[in-house]
C-alpha cells in the first residue's frame, strides 16, 4: 500500500479541540464539526437509542466481559474468557494437520456440495460451528454430516492447546487464516482466504454465536449440553440455517455490521416525529421496544425508559425479518432472545408488515408471551394514528427513494462514503454509484472498506487516518472520538482535494442530519 498513515497519539483520543461544555450546548458547524463525542453530526440530542457501544472494540471478548461486569449483566454459567491466550502460529504442524483434514474430506461425500472438491475448498470464507464434543452444528458450505471428521480435528486442536492451559486463537498457513472462538458450549471456527485480520474474523464468529443464542438462549444451550454432551443441536436449529447463511452474507455486504451501526431511512424530521410519537402512544405494559423498519433501514425506534437496545441485537432482528417471508401476510409471533440484552431469556416479538406489499415492518418486542392480542391491538392503534395524522402517505412517499445519490453532496470526485456518528450508533451512506453496482464491484468496494476498518482498528497499532491511492480509486478513512468516516474518491483526485472534500462533506451531513439521522429518540 503506497498510502500515508498517521499513528494515533495516545493522548489524542481524549483530547478535545474546544471546551467540552461549549460544544455540547452549541452544535458546531465549524469546518470540522463534532470532534468531540456527542456533538458530531448525527449525534442524538437527548440520549442515545442504543447501548452505548464502543463500536468495533465492543465486540472483542475482553472489553465485552469488562463492560458487562460494569453494567451488572448477569450471565449464567459463562466461563470468563482468558485474556492471556496466545496466538498460536504454527508452520509445519499446520500443514500436517491440513493433510489430516484432507483425508477426512475424502471419506465423506455430500449431496449438495462435495466437500472434497476443489470448489468447496476454494470458497473465500468458511464458517463451522461445533459442540464441545466435536459434533457438527453448522457449516456454511456442504453438509454437516460430511464434515464430521473435519470438525473432530478442529475440536482436537482446541482441546490439545487447552490441555496446556492455553487457548488457541488462530493458525496462519498457506494463505489461510483459521480462527477459533470458544464460547462454551459451542466452538466456532472460521477459515478465510481474505485479507481480514484475526480480530475481524473473530468478530464475525461472535455474530454467528449471537445468532444461535438468539434462537435458543444461552441458558437453554447450557442446559442441553449439561444433560447430554453429545446432543445434536441441529435438531433444535432446524429451519434456521438460512438465518445464519444470510447473516454471513450480510457480514460481507452490509456496512452496518462492519461499522456496528444502523442506517436510517432518510425522512423529513417532521414526519419521523409523527411516526415516532404515534408509536410511542401505541404502548402496552409489556412492551420494551417498538421498531419500525423499511427493508434494511430503520425508520424509528421507541424504547422503554432506561432500556437500551444493542446494535448487535438490532442487526439480529433485521436479519430475522429480512430472512423470513412468513411475516408478509399475517402477523407473526415468535420468541426471540436478544443476547446483548439478556442471554438467559426470550422476548416475544410481534412482527408484521404494515401492508403485505409494503416494506414497512413493525416489530413489537414484549416480555409477555401471552400478550399477542394486546400487541396486535397496539399495531392497529399505531396505524390509525398514523393515518389520522397524515404521516402514512408521507412515509410511503419517502420509501420510494430510500437512499440518496452522492451527487447531492456536490463533491465531484467523491464516489461513495460511509459516515458513522459514534454517539448515536447510526450511520449514513449514499447509494452505490454505477461503477460499483455490479455484484463483484460491490463486494470489492466493501472489501476495501473492510481493509480500511481493519487498519484503523488494529489491535496493537490503531490508526487515526489513512489515505490510500489505488489504481481504480483513492480511499480515505478518518476516525475521531465522535465519528468514523470512510470515503471513496475517483483515482484522479489528490490528497488535498480529499481533505477539503471531507470538510465539505461533514458540513453537508450537518445540514442534512435531521433527515438522515434520528436525533430525538423517544421512550415510552
Amino acid at each position: 500500500m503506497d498510502g500515508e498513515v498517521h499513528r494515533a497519539a495516545a493522548s489524542w483520543e481524549n483530547g478535545t479541540l474546544a471546551p467540552v461544555d461549549r460544544l455540547r450546548t452549541e452544535r458546531a458547524d465549524s469546518p470540522t464539526p463534532g470532534l468531540v463525542e456527542g456533538t458530531e453530526p448525527g449525534a442524538g440530542q437527548k440520549s442515545a437509542m442504543f447501548v452505548h457501544a464502543q463500536s468495533f472494540e465492543d465486540l472483542t471478548a475482553e472489553t465485552e466481559e469488562a463492560r458487562k461486569e460494569a453494567e451488572g449483566y448477569s450471565e449464567l454459567g459463562k466461563p470468563a474468557d482468558s485474556t492471556d491466550g496466545i496466538e498460536v502460529l504454527m508452520g509445519k504442524d499446520t500443514i500436517s494437520e491440513k493433510q489430516n483434514k484432507k483425508e477426512g474430506w475424502q471419506d465423506s461425500k455430500s449431496k449438495e456440495e462435495d466437500v472434497s472438491s476443489e470448489a468447496w475448498r476454494s470458497h473465500r470464507k468458511h464458517v463451522f460451528v461445533l459442540s464441545e464434543a466435536g459434533k457438527p452444528i453448522y457449516t456454511r458450505y456442504g453438509t454437516e454430516e460430511a464434515l464430521s471428521s473435519t470438525m473432530g480435528v478442529m475440536m482436537a486442536l482446541v482441546s490439545f492447546v487447552e490441555a496446556d492451559k492455553n487457548i488457541i486463537r488462530s493458525i496462519h498457513a498457506d494463505g489461510y487464516k483459521v480462527v477459533f472462538l470458544s464460547k462454551s458450549p459451542l466452538v466456532l471456527v472460521g477459515v478465510s482466504r481474505t485479507s481480514q485480520s484475526d480480530k475481524e474474523l473473530m468478530r464475525e464468529l461472535q455474530y454467528i454465536y449471537y445468532q444461535i443464542v438468539s434462537l435458543l438462549t444461552l441458558t437453554q444451550l447450557n442446559h442441553i449440553f449439561q444433560h447430554k454432551q453429545n446432543y445434536d443441536l441441529r435438531r433444535l436449529l432446524a429451519g434456521s440455517e438460512h438465518l445464519t447463511d444470510n447473516l454471513l452474507h450480510r457480514l460481507d455486504r452490509d456496512p452496518g455490521l462492519l461499522l456496528s451501526a444502523v442506517t436510517c431511512l432518510p425522512l423529513a424530521s417532521s414526519t419521523r416525529d409523527v411516526v415516532s410519537s404515534s408509536l410511542q402512544a401505541a404502548k402496552a405494559k409489556s412492551l420494551v421496544f417498538s421498531i419500525l423498519l423499511a427493508g434494511d433501514y430503520l425508520v424509528t425506534l421507541v424504547r422503554k425508559k432506561d432500556q437500551f437496545l444493542h446494535h448487535i441485537d438490532l442487526h439480529l432482528v433485521f436479519n430475522l425479518v429480512g430472512s423470513s417471508s412468513s411475516f408478509r401476510e399475517g402477523e407473526g409471533w415468535t420468541p426471540i432472545c436478544l443476547p446483548k440484552f439478556n442471554t438467559a431469556g426470550f422476548f416475544h416479538a410481534h412482527i408484521s408488515y404494515l401492508e403485505p406489499a409494503s416494506d414497512l415492518c413493525l416489530i413489537l418486542v414484549s416480555t409477555d408471551r401471552e400478550d399477542f392480542f394486546n400487541l396486535s391491538e397496539c399495531k392497529q392503534r399505531f396505524l390509525e394514528r398514523l393515518s389520522k395524522r397524515n404521516a402514512y402517505q408521507a412515509l410511503k412517499d419517502a420509501l420510494k427513494s430510500p437512499s440518496y445519490s452522492v451527487a447531492q453532496v456536490g463533491i465531484p470526485e467523491l464516489r461513495h462514503f460511509l459516515y458513522k456518528s459514534k454517539s448515536s450508533g447510526l450511520y449514513t451512506s449514499p447509494e452505490l454509484p454505477v461503477v460499483y453496482q455490479s455484484e463483484e464491484e460491490e463486494e470489492r468496494l466493501m472489501g476495501l472498506y473492510h481493509d480500511l476498518h481493519s487498519r484503523l482498528h488494529h489491535a496493537t497499532r490503531p490508526l487515526r487516518s489513512i489515505y490510500h491511492c489505488g489504481e481504480t480509486e483513492n480511499l480515505m478513512a478518518w476516525v475521531t472520538s465522535g465519528f468514523e468516516l470512510y470515503l471513496c474518491f475517483s483515482p484522479l483526485g489528490t490528497k488535498a482535494l480529499a481533505v477539503s472534500a471531507v470538510n465539505k462533506l461533514l458540513k453537508w451531513i450537518r445540514k442534512e442530519e435531521d433527515r438522515l439521522f434520528i436525533l430525538s429518540p423517544l421512550t415510552y
Binding site: 435458543l216 434456521s240 430475522l320 401476510e329 407473526g332 409471533w333 412482527i351 408471551r369 392497529q380
Partner: protein
C-alpha cells in the same frame, strides 16, 4: 425424539381424545357463553382487524411436522394460490383471519399457523388451550411425518381443551409418484383415534376449502344449536361433500 418419548409415557393403545363427534351432551348456547378459551360470540356483528363484519369467531390451529405444508394449505385456503418454489419455514406462530359464510352466518376463523420445528414447541403449546379446532397435518410423501401423528395427538390431548375439534389431514395428495403413506393407512389411524380424516393438496386445491368449512360448520353448529337439535356429524358431512365434489369434478 421428545415426542416419541411422550407417546411411550402416555401409552398409545388408548385413544387420547374422545371424538369431537361422539357422545357429548349439553353443548348449547350455554357452552358458548361460558368463558372457555376466549370464544368470541358477540350479540351483534363485530368488526375484525381487517374491517370485515362477523357473527362468531373461532380459533383454528394448524399443527404437524415441519415441512408438511401447513402454510401452503393456509395460503391456498386464504388466497387461492399455491406457494411454489423454495421452502419457507414459519417463524413462531403466524396469525391470519378469514371470514366464511356458514348457513347465513358470518364465521370468522382466526387461523394460527404454527412452526413445525421443535424449538418452537413451547410457544405453540401455550396456544393449544385457546384453540377451538386443530387441523393436524402429515405429508403423504413423508412416512416420518405420518409416524409422528400419534405423538402429535398425545400432545394435543395434553395441552388442548377437552372438546377441541381435531381433524387429520394427509397433505400433498397430488404427489402420486412420491406417495409413501396410503390413504387407507390414514383412514385407519383416524378411526383408531376417532377423528375425521381426509386427504388434501395445497397444490391442486383438493379438499382445502372443505377442510376449513367442515371445521367451521362443526364449531358453528356447536355454538348455535338448540338443545334438542341433532348433533352435527362432521365425518358424515365431509364424506358426503367429498363424494359430491368427486362426481362434479369427473
Amino acid at each position: 425424539m421428545s415426542r416419541k418419548k411422550a407417546v411411550k409415557a402416555k401409552g398409545s393403545s388408548k385413544s387420547p381424545k374422545p371424538s369431537p363427534c361422539s357422545g357429548r351432551s349439553g353443548k348449547g348456547l350455554a357452552a358458548a357463553a361460558a368463558p372457555s378459551g376466549g370464544l368470541v360470540y358477540p350479540s351483534r356483528p363485530s368488526i375484525s382487524n381487517s374491517g370485515e363484519f362477523y357473527d362468531i369467531a373461532f380459533k383454528v390451529m394448524l399443527v404437524g411436522d415441519s415441512g408438511v405444508g401447513k402454510t401452503c394449505l393456509l395460503v391456498r385456503f386464504k388466497d387461492g394460490a399455491f406457494l411454489a418454489g423454495s421452502f419457507i419455514s414459519t417463524v413462531g406462530i403466524d396469525f391470519r383471519n378469514k371470514v366464511l359464510n356458514i348457513d347465513a352466518l358470518k364465521v370468522k376463523l382466526q387461523i394460527w399457523d404454527t412452526a413445525g420445528q421443535e424449538r418452537f414447541r413451547s410457544v405453540t403449546h401455550a396456544y393449544y388451550r385457546d384453540a377451538h379446532a386443530l387441523l393436524l397435518l402429515y405429508d403423504v410423501t413423508n412416512k416420518r411425518s405420518f409416524d409422528n401423528i400419534r405423538a402429535w395427538l398425545t400432545e394435543i390431548h395434553e395441552y388442548a381443551q377437552q372438546d377441541v375439534v381435531v381433524m387429520l389431514l394427509g397433505n400433498k395428495a397430488d404427489s402420486t409418484h412420491d406417495r409413501v403413506v396410503k390413504r387407507e393407512e390414514g383412514e385407519k389411524l383416524a378411526k383408531e383415534f376417532g377423528v375425521p380424516f381426509m386427504e388434501t393438496s395445497a397444490k391442486s386445491g383438493l379438499n382445502v376449502e372443505l377442510a376449513f368449512t367442515a371445521v367451521a360448520k362443526e364449531l358453528k353448529h356447536r355454538t348455535t344449536k338448540e338443545p334438542d337439535e341433532p348433533k352435527f356429524q362432521l365425518q358424515e358431512y365431509v364424506d358426503k361433500e367429498m363424494r359430491t365434489a368427486g362426481c362434479c369434478r369427473s
